[in-house]
Subunit: 157 residues, 2 copies
């Protein structure tokens, strides 16, 4: 599966005549394998630990490249730094406002929602819609428990 993603992404880049350097492959693979929504700094230090030398500038350049080709998306949770997430298969994000954790949701309804959203948007704005980023905020189950909100959780709409 992850292997498929990787091959698919490589093929897309190749199609666009993007040079497949070892660094780019490494970073791409890292992002496919780690759905931890890492920041540039996290990617950099992780890779430096395992593999050897890779420049922070290269990480910046590569994530931007991947964002440009829509293989990866940028996220901000609120702690200042920017996070990245491989976006090969459509999904959306749920951010915990208490601990900052970001969870992926691969809901089957996602496709329907985005389609609907695209239609509404086109009607209202006449934009040519290409994609949608959805970010839901709330409290993760852990934080609900910590804050003693477990019972409330089931009541709230």
């Amino acid at each position: 599966m992850a292997q498929d993603e990787y091959q698919h992404a490589l093929a897309l880049l190749k199609e666009h005549r993007v040079r497949l350097t070892p660094q780019r492959k490494t970073i791409l693979k890292y992002l496919i394998d780690h759905h931890t929504h890492p920041s540039v700094e996290m990617i950099y230090s992780d890779l430096k630990e395992h593999d050897d030398s890779i420049s922070i500038a290269t990480v910046y350049n590569t994530v931007r490249l991947l964002v440009d080709y829509h293989l990866v998306i940028e996220l901000k949770n609120g702690d200042g730094s920017t996070h990245y997430d491989y976006f090969g298969r459509p999904h959306y994000h749920v951010v915990c406002d208490n601990c900052g954790k970001i969870t992926d949701v691969f809901a089957s309804q996602f496709a329907d929602l985005t389609k609907e959203l695209g239609q509404i948007t086109r009607e209202q704005t006449h934009y040519l819609v290409t994609r949608s980023d959805i970010e839901v905020h709330g409290l993760c189950p852990d934080c609900q428990a910590k804050l003693g909100l477990t019972t409330v959780a089931t009541e709230v709409n």
Copy 2:
């Protein structure tokens, strides 16, 4: 209307024992009146021009405060800097990937969409959902015209 928003926001802050300093009021009023999605730098220079002294640090502090109380939301279009938008009445954003323009959409269907989204999310993740940020990407009508895509636009789903 804008006056209502302002009073409503002030009341909310007051309720939370937030000190209503002139700087905070000024910045809040600015954000309510300007739906231009300004960056901190833009707010700062605009206010410095009209009004007199206000520190950039205060602008940073204040927008964060307003974000914390969900009166304002953070946006990134892609040019690096962070933008802010008064969020008194629910809406979502459409970003033009060509020129970076951000358009607000106050679709009546917005409420239904977010409700649906909240339900799906809760089922899938057991998060306690509080709100949703939706960001649609595409090409604005101007850029479609510039790029000669007007005919295509009507064909694409």
